[in-house]
């Protein structure tokens, strides 16, 4: 009796099946990464906490009303002008900075501002306070936050370009951050970024919105 061989399974349609699955996953895949404006909230103050007295000239007050109009230091301002105004305020350098462990506060020697008496003393003392209404639209709020962050980024870029020496001289803050993203363990780079951040620390406070 002739031995019957088992017939081979036809694998011709294998590619079709795989293609079908492939197309399914192609369609359902979303590659988007969640991105946004990140912010660290301030810690809850202890009870009976007395907030320190801050000189008025070190506070940039931004008010938003429920019609999405903006007042900066009590005057109406267009969104396009806010960035430059913020830069002028932060970069003023009219006095001495906060005292730290290395000694008393120093004059801001990297500031390019006009050093006026009625504007901020030092970038590390300059506080931006955003007071909105409960009815202010979230879109407007984010627009303002974005403009403020742009002001900080511009100042940090300038500082990094002019004051960083060594391997990373001449690079902007944005470029340094990109480099750090590719090389997360680089301690030298981390220290440099920390220095730039400390030169212009982000101090943005959100005041209790008005009802």
């Amino acid at each position: 009796m002739a031995q019957k061989e088992t017939p081979e399974i036809n694998a011709g349609s294998m590619a079709d099946i795989a293609f079908l699955l492939l197309i399914f996953f192609l369609v359902t895949t979303t590659m988007d990464v969640d991105s946004g404006i990140s912010r660290k909230l301030s810690e809850k103050p202890p009870e009976n906490y007395e907030p320190p007295v801050i000189k008025q000239k070190n506070i940039l007050e931004i008010n938003l009303n429920r019609n999405d109009d903006m007042l900066v230091e009590g005057e109406r301002m267009k969104i396009e002008d806010l960035r430059q105004f913020t830069i002028d305020f932060l970069d003023n350098g009219g006095g001495v900075g906060k005292p730290d462990e290395s000694g008393p506060g120093e004059i801001c020697d990297y500031c390019n501002g006009e050093r006026r008496d009625d504007s901020s003393d030092h970038p590390n003392k300059a506080i931006i306070s955003v007071k909105s209404d409960r009815g202010t639209s979230y879109g407007m709020y984010i627009t303002i936050q974005n403009e403020l962050l742009r002001a900080y980024t511009e100042l940090r870029n300038r500082y990094a370009k002019n004051h960083i020496t060594g391997d990373y001289a001449g690079m902007s803050y944005d470029e340094l951050l990109l480099l750090l993203g590719n090389d997360k363990e680089n301690e030298v780079l981390k220290a440099i970024i920390k220095e730039v951040k400390n030169a212009y620390p982000q101090i943005i406070s959100d005041a209790e919105p008005t009802k």
Partner: protein, 160 residues
Amino acid sequence: MSKFGKKKKGLPAINTASLPDIVFMLLFFFMVTTTMRQTDLVIKKPQLPSATEVKKLEHKSLVSTIYVGKARPEDQAKYGSGDKIQLNDKIATINDIANFIYSEQEKHNPEEIPYMTTSIKADITCGVGTIHDIRMALRDINALKVSYSTRRGDLRENVR
């Protein structure tokens, strides 16, 4: 003529035996990178604001998302027309946020908790008051890292 045999005509067929391998390779790539949408939106899909100074959120597992927006038109009779907060799969109130964050934190090791971020996906028409309430609720339970989720784009789209 027949002495030399027949001359072959046309191009030889390309061997497609390795085609399934290639397709499978692509298939596995997409299978691995696919993330299925975990939560279904109960509220109307929020239109995120645009911004330029955005930061990517890394470590997806450490992110808990709070959606803020209006209820769908058909649900507005039930929930009202104000800003609604969605946690997991249902519409919730400000008081539920603490429990939501705690339950998210329980899924992780204690040493990872300080790195956990709360992503707020809010519609551009929401009131800042709602956002502030969320912020206060998060501050009370010491979940201080917050990200206001945005798209990359033109700022003029934010204000109507």
